[in-house]
Symmetry: C2
Subunit: 392 residues, 2 copies
Amino acid sequence: MTTVADPPQPRRALRSTAKVLPEHARASNRSMVLQLLFHAGPRSRAELARATGLTRVTISDLVASLLAQGLVTELGQQADGKVGKPGTLVGLDAEAFQIVAVDLADDERVHGAVLDLSGAVRERRTAPVGGCTGAAAVEVLLGLCRELVAATTRPVLGVGVGSPGVIDLSGRVLQAPNRGWYDLPLAEQLSAALELPVHVANDADTAALGEFTWGGASGNGLLVLTVGGGVGAGIVLDGALVQGNEHAAGELGHVTALDERDEHDRAPLGRPELCACGRRGCLETVLSVPAMRRRVAGLDAAGRDAALASVGRRLGIVLAPVVSALNLSEVVLCGPEELLGGPLRDAALATLRERTIPVVSSHVQLRMTSLGEHGALSGAAVLVLSGQLGVT
Amino acid sequence: MTTVADPPQPRRALRSTAKVLPEHARASNRSMVLQLLFHAGPRSRAELARATGLTRVTISDLVASLLAQGLVTELGQQADGKVGKPGTLVGLDAEAFQIVAVDLADDERVHGAVLDLSGAVRERRTAPVGGCTGAAAVEVLLGLCRELVAATTRPVLGVGVGSPGVIDLSGRVLQAPNRGWYDLPLAEQLSAALELPVHVANDADTAALGEFTWGGASGNGLLVLTVGGGVGAGIVLDGALVQGNEHAAGELGHVTALDERDEHDRAPLGRPELCACGRRGCLETVLSVPAMRRRVAGLDAAGRDAALASVGRRLGIVLAPVVSALNLSEVVLCGPEELLGGPLRDAALATLRERTIPVVSSHVQLRMTSLGEHGALSGAAVLVLSGQLGVT
DNA sequence: AGCTGTTTGTAAGGACGGTTGCCTAACAAA
DNA sequence: TTTGTTAGGCAACCGTCCTTACAAACAGCT
């Protein structure tokens, strides 16, 4: 009959939406129960019902399916002297599955571990990279994964990998210059070879996940800065990693931190140095471990402290806009404690507070990681927990 | 029987999770259909089914309920010469409801409008603030809202308000010094008085929403900077506003942008000025409209351009870490075109590119808003569209 | 001991949402 | 006219959660 007017022009790409089925609701509720048991410890079914808002009937059903899968176990009666029938405690069984986690941040050796569901490391292995790149580097990684899988004593929930470079949500490495990987579907390849679920993410992102889950993060909004050969950052907002437009969020290492014309701290830091990226004064040229070691070499304690404080001030200047814009609750440093933990941290925090409004700065914390060396490994494990069980 | 070991200590506050019911799946799918019709224009049921992944049966059912509510209408047959039965086009009815939107960013007058579902302004009203604060300011706002509601010619979908200050997700104003509001449940009060759904958010956030929905945003990651009496920012990541730990995300106005010891641009900008917050050199002391007008007053064209370029460079320095950390695709400036649009924008973009790695800076855009004066009003309308229909 | 009230966990039945399978209507191409 | 394709509707089924009802286990009281 009536023909139709021209459709209005599409205004922008649609936000990724997906159909929702009742079974997704089920999965979400199942994850909520697991999340609760994971973080808050064993509970009775009735308590789970109250905490989730679901009915006891539904919780019973969910718990029954989790029991059938072996993910949770009944732990006996609640022994507190309240009125009424005592509940049966149900708890996550940390021994039910094991997780294989691998960290590729180190250029010399690939570090891996087997963890249980509580995040405890059960087994540790490393493999030398030996300068391998491209497909050969994938083989080294795959070999370590096989070795770790062989070392597990329980069914494997999945494999988590933290790698430098730009990595999309599907675990495809868009670019990782250190390994010579470009547009490589790493998760897919590993998954096919190992016949296991594999999750791959940027190493700073996995470090952020680990800190978020196990580092005692307090509020909402966490930035984790990994300081090693380079500088990277992972950001968790509202419980999720920030991806960025090109999956390159967290590229803080190459923000200019030292300006040709700044008088600020000129004496201790000298003129802006040339960076590997071809520009001058990048944060990496002052904050990376090699740069700092070079700067403090041969200095006495006072000189060393002054130099590190200068670096900390530059870091504070770079962090101030980020912390303000996102109203972060926590900034966490990962790297050598002896370089980052002292005057550097203190100066960075002081500078950060100086340069931000109190409503923001009074709540923000700046501290060393509480996970020690293997934060990235724990984070890679969280990647699997999150991907397979919905637990974060 | 067996008593139980101590539960593991809770490690952190749980991420906000909520139970999911099948009816939520229904609401989500309904929103997805509306979203599609909103952004991509009229479609047949079969096309909707293909686009959403749902079956034709389910789509028919959803469309039937939307037809019953008057939100969509059938627009006749598809007239293209393909094989098979031609489909019946179904389109969002922009006339079905109207939206009342109010912007409180201006200290002198409250601006309001009636919009249809396509975002077109149908009616415009303002009310003088007259220095009112506290409850009196609420009364002024309420009066304007009543006037606008009376001016509507269709059922009202809801009321959206953009206000300066820190505002939580429920529309409670935690603090808005300009209006003398502290811990005020504004959305709740307005909703009770008007007997309509009311959504309240920070004005920079609503501006960001408006730009995101109607400004032709390209990629993922948008920061909108509102420049007026002060400076504010709203950030949209992954299709959602960034809230921040204390709902204070976007507080960029009081980041130090001009340092006592910086030589950088000293000549055009002078020594760091005292800011209303009590500190020196905040971004607001160089980028706010009054500050800029004062700086360019009495200068010739060249001097004016140089001064604005200096301001742009300071802005670029502040933005660089944020753009890098979040890998933003777009930074949008809202405010007086004659101040922001020319040398300031150019210098800010150039500085931003100088200070960030190409992988980040090559994709980022920095431009004036395409929504003109009433971006915040459009954004307040999006608040309602999003809250009531799930359309963004 | 026996009763009462409270709390836990399960069972049965109903409501809702989505799917599959099958039907008819409408059209183009052979 | 026949064939193949597409749109849209109807019926039957499955999954998920809810409400209601009930048995079991306990504390506190008489």
